[in-house]
């Protein structure tokens, strides 16, 4: 399943703030998002900012058990986990992802800390009928990005800032343009600290195909109406 371009994705941590609220949230978000990114709750959400970290710590269930409470696939769904937690359990993650109807598993620490497992990851994804996807930072080596393109991933995710939800004074448009140049025709998803239709527009205009919102959604997840209104407002930033 490909990701709509231009697209808006929503990030939620599985079973945060509770199992039932999470189930309501993904149902609602599936109606107003082009894709979902579902975090596998971890004890070490190292690249996340304080808000998303809190969702990992307070999720009702932990690990893959939290993922298993729902069926996904109304819109393309990508699981997001830290490779560190699944170094020896890659097949299990792929199996679960496949069972629940996800399209890919994104490991933000794969390239930064486990690059020797890159090939292994790609093969495992494919063996379970999933597509690989990759997380890069703005200063990720150009040659590595060129290599990632050859794996024909579902998308390449550009983290716009150092951690989720923490905005820094960076020229993100320039960084998106640089990475766009390198990823060629592969779907480029951008995220971190996106919270307004203006920012959605800016990121898409700079060359991203889709954006993900996470931190800004967290406090709205309990209120279906507010959540829906917020996402619809962000959609206003997508070019028609």
């Amino acid at each position: 399943m490909e990701i709509n371009k231009p697209g808006l994705g929503a990030y939620v941590t599985a079973t945060y703030p509770s199992k039932s609220a999470f189930l309501n949230a993904i149902k609602c978000l599936s109606e107003v998002s082009d894709f979902l990114e579902v975090g596998i709750p971890t004890l070490n959400p190292k690249y996340d900012g304080p808000v998303i970290r809190r969702t990992h710590f307070t999720a009702e269930l932990k690990g893959l058990e939290a993922i298993g409470v729902a069926k996904y696939g109304a819109v393309p769904t990508i699981l997001m986990g830290y490779f560190e937690d699944y170094v020896d359990k890659l097949e299990l993650v792929a199996q679960v992802a496949s069972d629940v109807g996800a399209s890919s598993v994104l490991f933000p620490d794969l390239l930064f800390e486990y690059i020797d497992r890159l090939e292994d990851y790609v093969v495992t994804m494919r063996n379970y009928g999933l597509r690989p996807s990759f997380f890069v930072a703005s200063n990720t080596p150009h040659r590595l990005i060129n290599l990632l393109v050859k794996y024909e991933p579902l998308f390449i995710y550009l983290g716009l800032y150092a951690a989720t939800g923490i905005r820094l004074p960076l020229y993100i448009e320039r960084n998106i343009r640089e990475v766009r140049r390198l990823v060629d025709g592969i779907t480029l998803v951008a995220g971190f600290a996106i919270n307004s239709p203006e920012m959605v527009r800016l990121v898409i205009n700079a060359g991203a195909d889709a954006v993900v919102v996470g931190t800004a959604l967290v406090d709205r997840l309990n209120n279906e109406e507010e959540c829906r209104r917020f996402m619809m407002n962000l959609r206003g930033g997508l070019p028609r």
Binding site: K46, Y47, G49, P50, R53, D109, L111, F112, E113, I115, V136, A137, S138, N139, T140, P141, H142, R143, L144, G159, Y161, A162, A163, I166, R167, L168, P169, L170, Y171, R174, N175, E178, V179
Partner: protein, 413 residues
């Protein structure tokens, strides 16, 4: 000719640089950066550009202070060694504050002023960085406040004096100005200070007042980026491609600034294919050879985000050495990664052997080298004896040692 660009090696590294992370206790250090650092510096830390334009104003300042610095042939040293190896060195001590530190001080103060800062705040150990910031602030017309470790404040009186000549306010750290300083003094009235505590005080002081920006002297990516002006110039100046490139490492900014443009060319397959790169550290802080490659704080106080680097631990207290600029627990993340990947070789020297090298260099080349840079000289001498005739070595002479009386009294004593 002054380069138009600084070089960002991150985008050419053989593996990606792991991102900085926050620890789980306390407030976000990453978020804190936006309150204390000039914004352009944060952008440069994460830029996707390979070549970052040097603002015209900074290029003009580089010209005013004497850039490009000379690349000299060490004819006297070559003769004394008699090994038939040709030796060149880039002399950063030719800059008015006496070391390479001015390359980033000028850029950082420039960017701080662009953000509306009326005062820049920093820490210094031996005083090379403090002196460079004082000079840069004086040239650019902004106030500099320097927290200097108390032991150095008392022993390096000339550097304190010259910082004041440039108009800086210099405080021994721990000081009465900050909460952290007062607490340290209460616990121990004769506290000698530490670089970590001085950083903590500088950051606290920055947050206490309006119009202040904090600027750091090493380790961070943008510091190294600015220092690549050394290597960008050297590539143009070198009459022949070296077999060996050498520099000393405290936090890594002079070695990296000098070598990264050449290492980058090698990684991209655009030259320097047969060149080796050698980073030299002090026995007092052997992070390159004995450090762990792990996430750690760049400052002892743990106020900055954690970065993945070769480190002896942020609470490691190096024993005293006259090369105070090498007394640092970690090495810059990109340099650490290159060491890890075997692209940069490492070596460790003790103080005694380095003194002999400093003496020989002074007597054959006429320049009194900084104790820190003398570590590089020692490695050059050893390598010149090993390499085949006709080999070429180039090293970075990161500073002069004219203010290092304590070191030279031992050298002649």
């Amino acid at each position: 000719m002054i380069p138009h660009y600084w070089y960002n090696i991150n985008v050419d590294l053989p593996k990606p640089l792991p991102p900085p992370i926050d620890p789980y206790d306390g407030d976000s250090r990453i978020a804190l950066l936006t309150r204390i650092l000039p914004s352009e510096l944060l952008d440069q830390e994460f830029t996707a550009l390979r070549y970052v334009p040097i603002p015209d104003e900074v290029r003009e300042l580089y010209a005013r202070v004497g850039r490009p610095t000379p690349l000299l042939r060490a004819v006297g040293l070559e003769r004394a060694l008699g090994t038939g190896v040709r030796i060149y060195y880039k002399f950063e001590g030719a800059l008015p504050a006496g070391s390479h530190k001015l390359n980033t001080a000028l850029a950082q103060v420039y960017y701080a002023i662009k953000d509306g800062a009326r005062e820049v705040v920093t820490e210094t150990g031996a005083g090379q960085w403090g002196l460079a910031v004082s000079l840069a602030s004086s040239l650019l017309g902004v106030k500099a406040t320097i927290f200097m470790t108390r032991s150095s404040y008392l022993s390096k009186r000339q550097r304190v004096l010259f910082m004041r000549v440039y108009g800086a306010e210099v405080h021994p750290s721990p000081s009465e100005l900050t909460r952290h300083g007062r607490e340290a003094l209460r616990a121990r009235p004769d506290h000698p200070g530490s670089l970590g505590l001085a950083i903590t005080e500088a950051i606290e002081y920055t947050l206490m007042g309006e119009g202040r920006k904090y600027i750091p002297g090493s380790v961070l990516g943008f510091v190294i980026l600015h220092q690549t002006v050394i290597g960008m110039e050297a590539i143009k100046q070198l009459p022949e491609e070296p077999d060996l490139v050498v520099g000393c490492v405290g936090g890594g900014s002079n070695f990296s600034g000098f070598s990264f443009p050449m290492i980058g060319a090698k990684l991209r397959g655009e030259g320097f294919e047969r060149t080796r790169f050698l980073a030299v550290e002090s026995e007092a802080a052997p992070k390159l050879t004995k450090g762990r490659y792990a996430y750690d704080f760049p400052d002892s106080g743990g106020l900055l985000p954690m970065v993945k680097m070769l480190t002896l631990g942020h609470d490691f207290v190096p024993p005293p050495t006259h090369a105070a600029g090498l007394r640092y627990h970690g090495a810059a993340p990109a340099l650490s990664l290159l060491v890890k990947e075997g692209i940069v070789e490492t070596r460790t020297y003790g103080q005694e052997e380095v003194m002999e090298a400093a003496r020989l260099f002074a007597r054959t080349e006429g320049i009194i080298p900084a104790p820190e840079s003398s570590h590089a000289i020692k490695a050059v001498i050893d390598e010149a004896k090993r390499l085949p005739r006709g080999s070429v070595i180039v090293f970075n002479l990161s500073g002069h040692g004219l203010l290092d009386q304590d070191f030279y009294e031992k050298v002649v004593g």
